[in-house]
């Protein structure tokens, strides 16, 4: 009987996660003990403060390169960069979530348990302030995301995946208006997400089997699921590689589901449409960063030695994702669904970058994640502003003539759409250029061709919206654009400014990604 002791843990390196975790627990207590009238303010301040504190510690840790907590957590360049990105985008999302001036009580339902359509429901829709549970839930999700991109073994990564997913499922169900759609979205996301997790777990088991006989960090020959052991096994395991391939495939299914890549994208439009718009923005920005952060680590660190095996298949997935996203976006009539399909297509572009298994690919993908995150948050911020008596007016026909009603916001939205379309002097161009440049440098020219072709297709739905806003006459049913409250205005400004700055002067961020683009072994 040997003594076991806690492995050395570098608490400094995991402080950001601990801060967020602590803050979310405090948030739960706030729900229980703080009077209802003050909860919103307390929670908002608590969340913003916690995320900022976590961000500060991430920046403070900027030079840390370590593997800690018994090999479960790797704090290195990509981790810190992606954690920072998640936190910054998280701040912007929280600003959107906290907005209460657009609608009485905010965008979230007061009590999700009240039956839809009942008298009590109608009463709460117009009167009661929204539930503030959303804040601890988003903090939990952010905790999971930070862990997801830092995980250094598949098991920890799986736990991270669950910790980030579960709150998201819940947050989807909390829309104030169109609650049935929202609940359906949550259920759909939950069911499919559970399947994807199961796939991930199955793949994990197979990979564990593959590492049998490979010396692991702890000294025995039993293998393991930490990335170093897997990488060693990929190099010189004697077990049949069929296990490895099946394992990679299944793990990729789990990760690509979260990243919304075709053919695992079918949940995206429904969930994006049904979820409350701030939550949709949160998912589109932060979840995407987390999913691709994990995918990058898995592909580069664990399975980097087998890149010749997975590149063709994942390349096909990337091509399919770009094309499916672009083609289906053309047919959409709802702005949120359109942005959802555009998010699918963007997952394809990101995958193109992620498949370039070298430093440039890693750096450009990380750059793309940040650039896209800001733009998409700004996009959904505008969506929250265009309203009529029944809440947000998301049908595209309603947006006709918006340029006359509100030139400023139509102009801002035009700029955002142009950024999505990858027009120069927006971050959309620089990021696409970086990703495609990396792919072409890695020899994946065919992916670049598919990428630019699909971005050409994808430009059309955006242009259609632009044309509709500016060149159509406003009609009776053209909704009004509300003047945003301080929080949404801040989020919108940050998003648009980042889109512009990253389009005009992206050098500093490109530099940062380049310096960060190295995993610890």
């Amino acid at each position: 009987m040997t003594e076991i002791g806690l492995p050395p843990i570098n608490y400094g390196a995991i402080t950001p996660m601990l801060i967020l975790f602590g803050a979310s627990c405090v948030g739960v207590f706030v729900e229980a003990f703080v009077p209802k009238a003050q909860r919103h303010l307390v929670q908002l301040v608590l969340s913003l403060g916690a995320i900022t504190a976590a961000l500060v510690t991430v920046v403070w840790q900027a030079d840390t390169r370590t593997v800690t907590a018994g090999g479960a957590i790797a704090i290195d360049g990509p981790t810190l960069f992606l954690q920072g990105a998640i936190l910054v985008l998280g701040v912007v999302s929280i600003l959107l979530i906290g907005e209460r001036s657009l609608e009485r009580g905010g965008p979230f339902v007061a009590q999700a348990a009240i039956v839809v359509g009942s008298d009590a429901d109608r009463n709460q829709t117009v009167r009661q302030p929204g539930a503030t549970d959303i804040y601890p839930l988003s903090l939990f999700a952010l905790t999971g995301m930070l862990l997801f991109v830092a995980a250094n073994d598949l098991l920890t990564m799986f736990i991270g995946l669950e910790v980030l997913s579960l709150p998201l499922y819940l947050m989807c169900a909390l829309a104030r208006r169109r609650r049935l759609l929202s609940q359906e979205a949550a259920l759909k996301y939950f069911m499919l997400g559970a399947y994807a997790s199961a796939f991930f777990l199955f793949g994990l088991a197979l990979v564990y089997g593959f590492t049998a006989g490979t010396p692991s960090g702890s000294g025995d020959n039993g293998g393991g699921v930490d990335f170093a052991t897997i990488a060693a096994a990929v190099r010189n395991s004697e077990v049949s590689p069929a296990l490895l391939y099946a394992g990679i495939a299944l793990i990729a299914v789990g990760l690509l589901f979260k990243a919304a890549a075709a053919p695992f994208h079918v949940w995206t439009p429904d969930v994006y449409q049904g979820a409350p718009t701030p939550v949709t923005g949160f998912m589109a920005a932060c979840t995407k960063v987390a999913a691709f952060g994990a995918l990058l680590r898995v592909l580069h660190v664990a399975f980097g030695g087998a890149s010749w095996a997975y590149t063709p298949v994942l390349g096909a997935v990337a091509a399919l994702t770009m094309l499916v996203g672009a083609v289906l976006a053309v047919t959409q009539t709802d702005i949120k669904r359109l942005l959802a399909y555009s998010s699918v297509a963007n997952a394809g572009y990101l995958l193109v970058g992620a498949l370039a298994v070298n430093k440039q690919g890693l750096a450009s993908t990380m750059f793309y994640l940040v650039a896209y995150g800001f733009t998409v948050l700004a996009g959904f911020a505008v969506v929250t502003l265009v309203r009529d008596a029944d809440g947000e007016a998301t049908h595209l026909s309603r947006w006709a003539g918006l340029g006359r009603r509100s030139p400023l916001f139509a102009g801002v939205f035009t700029f955002i759409l142009l950024a999505f379309a990858g027009i120069p002097v927006t971050s959309g161009f620089t990021s696409k250029f970086a990703v495609f440049g990396a792919a072409s440098g890695a020899g994946h020219t065919w992916l670049v061709v598919v990428g630019v072709l699909s971005s050409m297709i994808l430009a059309f739905p955006y242009l259609r919206v632009v044309v509709m806003m500016w060149l159509s006459e406003p009609g009776e049913s053209t909704p009004s654009v509300l003047v945003p409250g301080g929080l949404t205005a801040a989020a919108l400004t940050i998003g648009v400014a980042a889109t512009l700055v990253l389009g005009v002067a992206p050098e500093s961020l490109l530099d940062l990604t380049n310096r960060a683009a190295e995993f610890v072994p």
Binding site: P424, F433, V448
Partner: protein, 513 residues
């Protein structure tokens, strides 16, 4: 920063500033906004004239340490985004300078024209702002010496042009309601397709060469043959869409016909030149081996464009559409010149570019004036213009004759030298092409004379007789006069263009050989 660099930046920055300033003008001061835009366009013209560097001599200015084929008079090289091989690298030499001046001049004329004639329902100041944005893109394309920057400016033009056609086009009452939108969509679709290929071409070159500097790349430095072939194919198709080269030209007639007058002028006078300029500077310069490989194909397509353009023109019944198709033929001559890859051919292409810009710009102005007055562009309805409006029909005759290539006017040199270059290239293929192109030149004369016979001569049609036929306004004269003068000047003194281009073209041909 030298004075030349300042002028270089000013040429690019003034229209951009102007566009921003005009966009901020409130709606009630529409006319003031248009005037403001015109002032900025005029300043840009002045700046572009200041770029000229006589002491550079005909052979350009060559820093001692550089033995490149591109020797810009002035150069500005700033780091922008080195991570993406993107440098803010501008420069001007004898190949690009005439085009730069042509661009600033035509933009000024278009802005001035808009001041005088409000474009109708939609705000005129927005149109002026869009024209200035287009100018920025076009000038940037001509000035860029970095491949990525070149692509960037190439893209900038697309959306404002789309907006101009979709927003201000379609004044033809007989066309169905959405025709201008459809034309604009077609324009964007084709151009985007071209951009996509160009982007891939740029990636190919940059990935293979490790640099995007056009100065360093010219002459195909270090690119292997397969890379050059692939790059040239991609880039050439991209530029062929923009030029447009038959059979990729089908967007052009619709766009021209539906665009407002100033849109047509910009499109024909300036935008098409981006394609041919790109072909010379980027496609031929960067991938000479690919150019040599593809030259016969390019030549055959160019001659096909000449013949097809001419034949289609013979059958046209609409004024603007006819002029649009004549552009296809003229650009065919330009491309034929490029395809020969000789100094004479490239010179012919450059002067053909300028001549086409001046003359077709004038033709579209005149066509716009006619349509403004009689609200129709159908040749059948326009007979007898000479009797109602002798001055207008005289100008139309002048422009048409210049366009068909009468010696002494600008159109002659480009067409003649293209044929000569093809003949000099020798061999059965090129000789045949030269002969067919010459026949095409004759056909050009045929359709323009047909145009004149139908429109200016003959009995006055009811439409012409019935309409008021306002006399030519001062603003119109002001817009046309520079073009009329230039068409004559370039025709009489072709060294205005050829002299400038001689040195750089010689160096380019040396490098390409």
């Amino acid at each position: 920063m030298t004075a030349g660099q300042v002028a270089l930046v000013a040429t690019l920055a003034l229209p951009a500033l102007g566009a921003a300033a005009v966009a901020l003008v409130p709606a009630r001061a529409d006319r003031a906004g248009r005037v403001l835009g015109t002032v900025f366009a005029a300043l840009a013209l002045v700046a572009s004239l200041l770029i000229y560097r006589p002491d550079g001599g005909w052979f350009g200015y060559a820093p001692a340490n550089r033995a490149s084929a591109v020797r810009p008079w002035h150069e500005l090289d700033l780091t922008w985004v080195p991570g993406l091989e993107l440098r803010f690298h501008l420069g001007v030499d004898g190949i690009s300078y005439p085009l730069v001046v042509l661009t600033t001049l035509l933009t000024l004329l278009c802005c001035a024209y808009t001041v005088g004639r409000s474009p109708g329902a939609r705000p005129g100041r927005t149109l002026v702002a869009l024209l200035l944005v287009i100018e920025v893109g076009v000038l940037g394309t001509f000035l860029a010496l970095d491949l990525v920057l070149f692509f960037l400016f190439f893209e900038v033009v697309l959306l404002p042009m789309y907006a101009v056609i979709a927003g201000w086009g379609g004044d033809d009452p007989r066309a169905e309601a959405g025709a201008h939108r459809a034309a604009a969509r077609k324009f964007v679709l084709y151009t985007l397709f071209g951009s996509v290929l160009m982007l891939v071409g740029v990636f190919t070159v940059v990935a293979a060469a490790g640099t995007a500097d056009i100065v360093a790349l010219t002459g195909g430095a270090g690119l292997s043959r397969p890379v050059q072939l692939a790059a040239f194919a991609l880039l050439a198709i991209a530029f062929a869409v923009k030029s447009p080269l038959w059979p990729l030209h089908t967007w052009l007639p619709d766009a021209h016909t539906q665009a407002p007058t100033v849109g047509s002028v910009m499109l024909a006078g300036v935008l098409l030149k981006m394609g041919t300029y790109g072909l010379i500077r980027v496609a031929v310069g960067v991938a000479p081996e690919g150019a040599r490989w593809a030259a016969p194909v390019l030549g055959v397509l160019a001659v096909a464009a000449i013949i097809v353009g001419a034949l289609v023109c013979l059958a046209q019944t609409e004024l603007k559409r006819l002029i649009a198709y004549s552009s296809v033929g003229h650009m065919g001559f330009v491309l034929l010149g490029v395809a020969t890859l000789t100094a004479t051919g490239l010179q012919a292409a450059l002067i053909g570019n300028i001549a086409h810009g001046v003359i077709t710009g004038l033709l579209f102005f005149l066509a716009g004036a006619i349509k403004d007055r009689f609200h129709t562009g159908a040749l059948d309805d326009l007979g007898g213009l000479r009797e109602r409006m002798p001055a207008l029909s005289g100008l139309l005759g002048y422009a048409a004759i210049a366009s068909l290539g009468l010696p002494g006017l600008a159109g002659f040199w480009g067409e003649a030298f293209a044929v000569v270059a093809a003949l000099r290239r020798g061999g059965p293929l090129w000789t045949t092409l030269a002969v067919i192109a010459a026949v095409g030149g004759a056909l050009t004369a045929a359709y323009f004379l047909r145009l004149l016979r139908r429109v200016t001569h003959g009995p006055a049609s009811p439409v012409v007789a019935g309409a008021g036929g306002a006399p030519i306004a001062g603003v119109e004269l002001a817009a046309w006069a520079p073009l009329v003068v230039l068409a004559l000047a370039v025709g009489l003194v072709p060294t205005l263009v050829l002299g400038l281009a001689q040195g750089p073209v010689g160096a380019l041909v040396e490098a390409v050989r």
